[in-house]
Symmetry: C2
Subunit: 333 residues, 2 copies
């Protein structure tokens, strides 16, 4: 686990979107987001206190989290001097960048000299076993999508937040770099070696209290030919008791695949459920989470109402409406 | 590609089964199997000439292939001296062992000194792209199984052999260590990083002549929760035009998973076809390949006849009957 609270490094983010990791931490783990550190020209603002390294460390921050995508895959000189100074101030550093911290000699040297840690969440930090398929105690809910990037992480985080508000036992389980940085731990599934994918998810969602829910972040889609194998490892390694279907209704084709149409939600429901029941025959599809940000409020409401009538499942946009009805739908499972 | 022909190193194989890699080369690429090298105590015999390193090299052998599983995952001293001498004699060495040749200082030193190559087919030897899902020319047939180790490699090799005998254009495409050693190249899919699995299979089965068939070696099973993600990457990266269902009817449970029953062949047919049609809507299930070695000949014949009547597909044991009817079933695709 990455020590928290964090100082969020926004660098010279050219626009707010470049700082989406920082925004995710700010939105979902506000207690972790003690302050932000911005360089000249930064166009992002988390609306939390701007702090120097010294101020943040004195206030209790333990890790400088790189909350921004860098340009061109290289860590610039202006970043590097801040990162070295952070280590010297007493911070660990965490990053999800493709460019690894551990490949920067200046950072490796400074970390060794100061006794601090570099967390590259892009890559697994431990070996994983081969999955054994054994039934585990506790309950698990997995978000599966018609496509990549349709709101699976958001849905699982929103359900975790709603459960926490109700006093239920719940843990968001990150399976991607952003989710790991937001919550401080998880499995970067896209970087795990094929044979160990399902085993890594078993390790991520171990035995737990009978009334505890793991909310497992989905990845890819069973219908996305580039990543479908990753998704099936999640379905079988995660052993979900409940599936939430995730969708973005305005997309013209599968992300990055111009020749591929999105499947219907019915096709996703049937395919995902059939495959999930291999690992857990009791698995059920409990609801639908739709990202309606590409529609007007009226269009979104009408779409959700039609979907709900058609499929007989609660259909919500958790960003606009919260995840309460999805959590309600877990009742009795 | 691993240079051939080979000298097959059988070491001190404790029984014939330990030399199954050598047996596979002997069975499927007899032209590659120039000779065998056995140490005292070896209980395996490929029924090809015993040769010293010098004799085999003089006869044209170019690679010493480790055709036997080692004991306890370590390369013994008695092996090591032979391997060093092989490099000094002018051989490359190829191995599918978990213990990597490249991790043995004595071998690395000798290979550098002699300018020879060490092929560790356990691990990928190049980076692979993310799959793009684009339609490729040529035709592809994939073996999919109800379980692991039910004869998928054997089926694809038998179909390749039958096609070659008929003068058809055909290439077995290896996706596992044994298949790679048998044919000299391929993708060790179980060791590929998750994001690149499907892309590695696209790279393995590129554009080809319109009447060329790739016979793709299957891995795992869509119903085996430890490895199903690997299998789905094959289904989507391989973009098969034809699927052959593989089965072993006497197995009591899924391999290594005592709590899991094998799916029916009907369930495999429906699930695999539905998923394969995401990448290739024209994909068809063309036949069934059954390993009947656990039955008497009469039981096997009766089982195959019943299966054929029930499912309306040719059902054969390619070891006992050859793969002619499976190849016939590709006609018109």
């Amino acid at each position: 686990m990455i020590p928290h609270p964090y100082l969020l490094f926004l660098g010279d983010a050219p626009d707010p979107l470049a700082a989406k990791v920082a925004q995710g931490i700010r939105d979902w783990r506000p207690d972790f987001a003690l302050g932000q550190l911005r360089l000249p020209g930064c166009k992002a603002d988390m609306r939390i206190p701007d702090m120097t390294l010294a101020e943040a460390h004195a206030a209790g921050a333990r890790t400088l989290v790189i909350g921004v995508a860098n340009r061109g895959g290289v860590i610039s000189e202006s970043w590097m001097s801040v990162l070295v100074e952070a280590l010297e101030t007493g911070f660990d550093i965490a990053s999800g960048l493709h460019t690894l911290l551990r490949d920067q000699p200046a950072l490796v040297e400074a970390a060794a000299r100061t006794g601090r840690s570099l967390f590259d969440v892009r890559l697994p930090d431990r070996p994983y076993p081969i999955a054994n398929g054994e039934k585990r105690s506790g309950k698990r809910c997995l978000a599966v999508g018609t496509d990549c990037s349709v709101g699976k992480m958001y849905t699982a985080l929103a359900m975790e937040k709603e459960m926490a508000a109700r006093g239920m036992k719940a843990s968001f389980r990150a399976t991607g770099q952003t989710g790991i940085l937001i919550t401080g731990g998880g499995v970067p599934l896209d970087a795990v070696v094929a044979d160990f994918m399902a085993g890594s998810i078993e390790a991520l969602t171990p035995d737990n209290d009978a009334d505890h829910w793991d909310l497992i972040e989905g990845q890819g889609s069973l219908f996305h030919v580039s990543y479908s194998g990753v998704t099936l490892a999640l379905v079988h390694g995660g052993q979900p008791d409940a599936l939430v279907l995730c969708h973005e209704p305005t997309r013209a084709h599968m992300r990055g695949l111009p020749g591929y149409q999105l499947p219907s939600l019915e096709a996703l429901r049937d395919t995902a459920l059939q495959l999930a029941q291999v690992a857990n025959p009791a698995c059920k599809v409990v609801g639908i989470s739709v990202n309606t940000s590409g529609m007007t409020a009226e269009e979104g409401d009408a779409y959700l109402a039609e979907l709900e009538a058609r499929m007989g499942l609660p259909a919500v946009d958790p960003f606009r409406q919260g995840a309460a009805r999805l959590v309600d739908a877990l009742d009795g499972i």
